[in-house]
Amino acid sequence: MPLRFPFTTLAMMTGVFILGGICLNAQETAVAEDGNKDAVPPATQATVPPAAAQAQQPTASANETSSPAAALKPAARDGSVWGALVYASAAKPDKPKATDPVEFPDLSKRLAKAFPYERFVVIGQHTQVVFREYESWVVPSRDVFLKMDSKGSTLDGGLNLHLQFWQGQQVLVKTDTVLRPSSPLFIGGPKWRDGQLIFVLELQKDKDETAKMAAP
């Protein structure tokens, strides 16, 4: 019988329901996680050199529980995300144009198409590993932040996440979202002063994807 849907759709659905349990991203790392971090905006930004990032791992693992087995056990990762809190406001002729972060060079242009503002200033940012077994937080500010729970990867490089968007002690919205590379999520947050807070979440492209998938 001729199939009515393209193979990719079938493959994806198959992947989500049948292969979801198979660990695709096993990686031997300590529980501690390193993220890219840049200088306080709007100054110029520099990414953390890999050597420095690696150096922090042993220190972190020393803070783990006393059980040696627990210290060595790798936490399964499902990729990492970049989160930012952006303050959007109207264009101001006297103020200079806000610079976009290195992680997202065309941020202002794209946000301007989705929201009625012209000026987009990144107030805080946080790159966070998404753990398979644990919830993780993306906290670019104390005021609004995100809780993430992974529901596994999809075959097309997407990440099935349960997200909770929190403001203080109140969860504003809960969502099950499949986050895909190069396809950011813009969350319209509360208005503040002359503008609005916007939360940006993007799945980081993982260079080690193929290596991970090949791991037993």
């Binding site: 989705a114 805080g124 906290v139 947050g189």
Partner: protein
Amino acid sequence: MKTPDDQLLARWLDGELSEQESARFEAMMAADPALREEAETLRAISASIREHVSFEREVPHADFFNSQIQERIAEVQRADERAHAPAASASGWFSWLRTPWALASAAAAVAVAFVVLRQERPSTQVLSLYAPNPNIQANAYHNADADATVLMLNGLESIPADHEIAGINVHHSEMEPQQGTTTLFNEQGNALLVMTKNGWDQPVVASR
């Protein structure tokens, strides 16, 4: 038009008179000072309008304006497609449905296919949304212009203007699963915040 003279005056103002009519009107104005005054006043008003008034006006948030129109156009196109979608033929559809795993994923596949078939590259998808606060309405859509998925929340309370919003740049975090805490550090290795949860499973953000 009240009188032929009024018509003449109007057409003189608009530069629509022929040479002969122009000459005639000039003569009329020379003979009638009141007419001349009226004509000159109206001409001055016209000139002022052209100088001071513009018909065109810059659209605020122009990119957003265009993008909103594109979204509504996409909605129109989707509605048209749904109205004209051909009914699934009996044999192919149902036999595919009978396979066990297909049954489980059939409903989801329909929704997904709509999205996958129309896009060259799959984008972030909001599968479900829930806003616990009844005053808040949550909606999500894919904005093709921005190439992003937008999650909108209506009914949020504004943050007071006197409240300072401080952003932080988190460099790395450390999780302590047994204690249920996550400590967030800056680049210098100083702890910025500690995330924990209280008895009601709510996050507690504490300074180090």
